[in-house]
């Protein structure tokens, strides 16, 4: 199922990526190429095979409920483009 230009624009919007109209044909071609490549998997017969989300046949490992991390505000905020006290600061996002 090839992507149309509107879908390309919508995917970019959902990822909050700015794209110019000029970019759309190129992105459309690239994305269609990726989808087409993945679609080859459709040719495999998976009749009776359980869905698999990982390669390892293992269950999730769990950890104990103990506080072992945190209290590193300086490191957490180190890459913030803007901060106020110990808060991250971003352009207003309210309605």
């Amino acid at each position: 199922m090839p992507l149309d230009p509107a879908t390309v624009r919508r995917i970019a919007h959902l990822a909050r990526m700015h794209i110019e109209d000029d970019d759309i044909p190129r992105l459309q071609t690239e994305l269609n190429g990726i989808l087409g490549w993945v679609e080859q998997l459709g040719a495999v017969n998976v009749e009776g095979v359980k869905p698999l989300t990982g390669a390892a046949d293992m269950a999730l490992r769990m950890r104990d409920d103990a506080v072992t991390d945190g209290d590193i505000a300086e490191k957490i905020l180190a890459n913030a483009p803007e901060r106020a006290g110990d808060y991250f600061v971003v352009p207003k996002v309210v309605e």
Partner: protein, 483 residues
């Protein structure tokens, strides 16, 4: 009689479902070792995992899983031995990874039930569709700067249980009862503190309206309502809005809305237009969550007695009416207090004092049952003093007030203030004779047929005896003298 809202074209029924986000009680977050305590300095309870630094991997907290299982068991729900985690993708400044780890197709808990009680005492069973584990997002502060939003990630990654009901609720009152009941169950289980003020329980409300006998019409979702009262108000406001749309020949479109308590209306959240395009996919960082049935049975064995069972037991064991039992089991601490008072005593008598005098005193002094100035042992001792005739019921009220004020034991107060009931017939005879002698005109009126004056004589005698006369004996002696 079922609940309807009257429109121009006649009555409309409401169809309501609730999605409740309940913050899990745990020391550390769902997938990181950062602390969860409310009220810390901004960004001080954040690990690299919570802030989505590159290369960080989530590791699930066993206790958060246990809490979800306990809650599922408390809701009489299926526990799924295998569940999975998915990424729910959306863009927001307080969601550093750009996705929330949630459970979409394979939640840890499936169908369950909650029993709710109507104002008329009838019960109704509301279906639970599912419960799943997910991460909370950070907190955005919009009021700190005119053009900026401040972000605190302390809450980011804290475990939430999303508890989804079937669209079984039919009125704002039922929705309120459901929320209160769910909150009580969570608090009994110790899986969520149910504190709506601090945001540890929040509700998304799905509302649609229809004419009797119709299938469902389009619903709207009112997001993030944070009190039982607001949930009830939001449902009514949203239902009335939808009725107006349908009756004016319009069509309700499925959308996300926001309730404005100040104006009592809901309004569209335009920013949520993409809200249902979450592009879920299995989280490749997380293997399937496989539960050992033996572990589930261990958790089941350790569950506390839940409110419905406790209520039934209070009715059977202490002979309480359903209403009293319901009031007492709403909080575990109240139920425990009552039991400590009632054990070995008359249950209904104990319930009257706990629900009546004690709750009123707590209200008045702004205390909770946990910080009650009167211990259950002391209240029990007061009841014993009434039962064995040491003091009468009237004096007991004064002693109780004294206990609330000073925390002193009832026996000590009675001794110190010399409040023992007077059962000495001689003293009562004397007081009666004095009162009758002082009021010859009233005695004449009484004998002429003005029966109501009997109460006046009782009052005068009690007054003369500083309230300590045994009421039954005072009545007897008066009757004899007035005959």
């Amino acid at each position: 009689m079922s609940y309807t809202i009257e429109g121009k074209t006649g009555p409309w029924e409401l169809v309501i479902g609730l999605e409740v986000h309940a913050q899990v009680i745990s020391r550390a977050k769902l997938f990181s070792g950062a602390a969860t305590v409310f009220g810390a300095a901004p960004n001080h309870q954040v690990s690299f995992v919570d802030a989505a630094f590159p290369g960080m991997l989530p590791v699930i907290n066993r206790e958060c899983v246990a809490q979800a299982i306990r809650t599922g068991l408390g809701l009489d729900a299926e526990i799924h031995l295998e569940s999975r985690f998915d990424r729910k993708n959306y863009f927001y400044a307080d969601l550093p990874a750009g996705y929330q780890i949630s459970q979409y197709q394979h939640p840890i808990v499936g169908r369950g039930v909650i029993e709710i009680e109507g104002a008329d005492g009838t019960t109704r069973t509301i279906g639970i569709t599912r419960l799943h584990l997910e991460q909370d997002a950070g907190k955005s502060l919009h009021d700190q700067h005119p053009a900026k939003t401040y972000i605190d990630l302390n809450r980011a990654g804290v475990a939430l249980m999303e508890i989804v009901s079937e669209p079984d609720l039919r009125s704002p009152e039922e929705a309120g009862a459901y929320l209160r009941k769910l909150r009580t169950i969570l608090r009994y289980l110790g899986t969520c503190d149910g504190n709506m003020d601090e945001g540890s329980m929040r509700a998304d409300v799905n509302v649609s309206v229809r004419k009797a006998g119709e299938a469902f019409r389009t619903r709207c979702e009112v997001k993030n309502v944070n009190s039982v009262r607001f949930v009830m108000q939001a449902i009514e406001a949203e239902a009335k809005r939808q009725i107006a749309v349908w009756e004016e020949g319009g069509v309700v479109s499925q959308e996300t809305r926001l309730f404005e308590p100040g104006r009592g209306i809901t309004r569209s959240m335009r920013s949520k237009e993409d809200a249902h395009d979450y592009r879920y996919f299995p989280d490749p960082d997380l293997l399937p969550l496989i539960l050992d049935p033996a572990w589930i049975e261990t958790l089941r064995a350790d569950l506390p007695e839940l409110p419905d069972a406790k209520k039934r037991r209070f009715m059977a064991e202490y002979g309480l009416p359903a209403y009293d039992a319901g009031v007492l089991v709403a909080e575990q601490a109240s139920a425990a207090y009552f039991e400590a008072v009632a054990r070995g005593r008359d249950g209904k008598f104990a319930a009257n004092w706990v629900i009546g005098d004690l709750f009123a005193a707590l209200n008045r002094t702004g205390r909770s049952i946990e910080t009650s100035p009167v211990s259950p042992a002391d209240l029990g001792a007061l009841l014993d003093l009434i039962t064995d005739g040491t003091i009468n019921g009237r004096i007991a009220k004064d002693v109780f007030e004294e206990m609330v004020a000073s925390g002193e034991a009832p026996g000590a107060i009675v001794t110190r203030k010399n409040l023992r009931q007077v059962t000495d017939t001689g003293a009562i005879e004397q007081a009666v004779a004095d009162v009758l002698a002082a009021n010859p005109d009233k005695v004449a009126e009484y004998k002429a047929g003005k029966d109501k004056l009997f109460g006046f004589f009782v009052g005068q005698v009690m007054k003369a005896m500083a309230g300590k006369g045994n009421p039954a004996l005072v009545n007897d002696v008066l009757r004899r003298h007035l005959a």
